[in-house]
Symmetry: C2
Subunit: 136 residues, 2 copies
């Protein structure tokens, strides 16, 4: 069903400091930066081989990541698994009884197609499914 | 410095239900199961391509994962990055000012060599460095 962990999402209220940590100290290459209005975040992707770290700064307190930060502070926010056919994967997950936050794929960072699964049905882990755009 | 995300660690108080979720519903192959006394956990590795999910059930309330569960409930516990030379990586991290929980590598699951970085210096993310044993 899944080819690889695609990325981990990390919530932060200070994107520049987080970039300094991941790029400057942990030696990851900054690959992409984008404001994803539909998800309420400014996001940065850094490469770890074929996988990524996705830094997430909320655009406001009322966004999902803003509420997460207020409740839990900065840290691991979600994990994303890669698929090459997101519609089929969502069908399969639904059939096994997984509760979907997104019944249909949405556009995510770098023109990927993404959907989130509800942590209620995934042991407390906010889980994302990603079909990367061609070339990524 | 890092070749790939090696795994995400997921804390659970019910390992069998978590295995049912990851193996049965998310379709991941159960690759390994081991009680790691030095880390205070019973742990299960599932394959996601070359990466893994590591399920962690604490052996007691006073273990690190036991305290995490009491404080935050089940969910994402840590992320681990893969290296092929853990001593060199720890040296490099120390030089950049990262605070190490383990100054020297310890033996982790499946005879890997591991070290943890302190979340105080990694933006609230408990971060592990892993040098897998030969063949994994």
């Amino acid at each position: 069903m899944f080819g690889l962990i695609d990325h981990v999402g990390v919530a932060t209220d200070d994107l520049e400091t987080a970039i300094g940590l991941y790029e400057g100290r942990l030696g990851m290459r900054l690959a992409h930066r984008e404001t994803v209005d539909s998800h309420g975040v400014e996001a940065v992707l850094l490469d770890v081989g074929e996988t990524h770290v996705e830094l997430l700064r909320p655009l406001g307190e009322e966004t999902a990541v803003g509420k997460f930060l207020a409740r839990r502070g900065p840290g691991l926010h979600h994990v994303a698994y890669r698929t090459d056919d997101i519609e089929r994967t969502l069908e399969e997950l639904k059939e096994t009884g997984i509760e979907l936050i997104d019944a249909k794929p949405r556009t995510g960072i770098r023109e990927s197609r993404v959907a989130f699964l509800h942590p209620r049905s995934t042991g407390g882990v906010l889980t994302e499914i990603v079909e990367p755009a061609a070339g990524h």
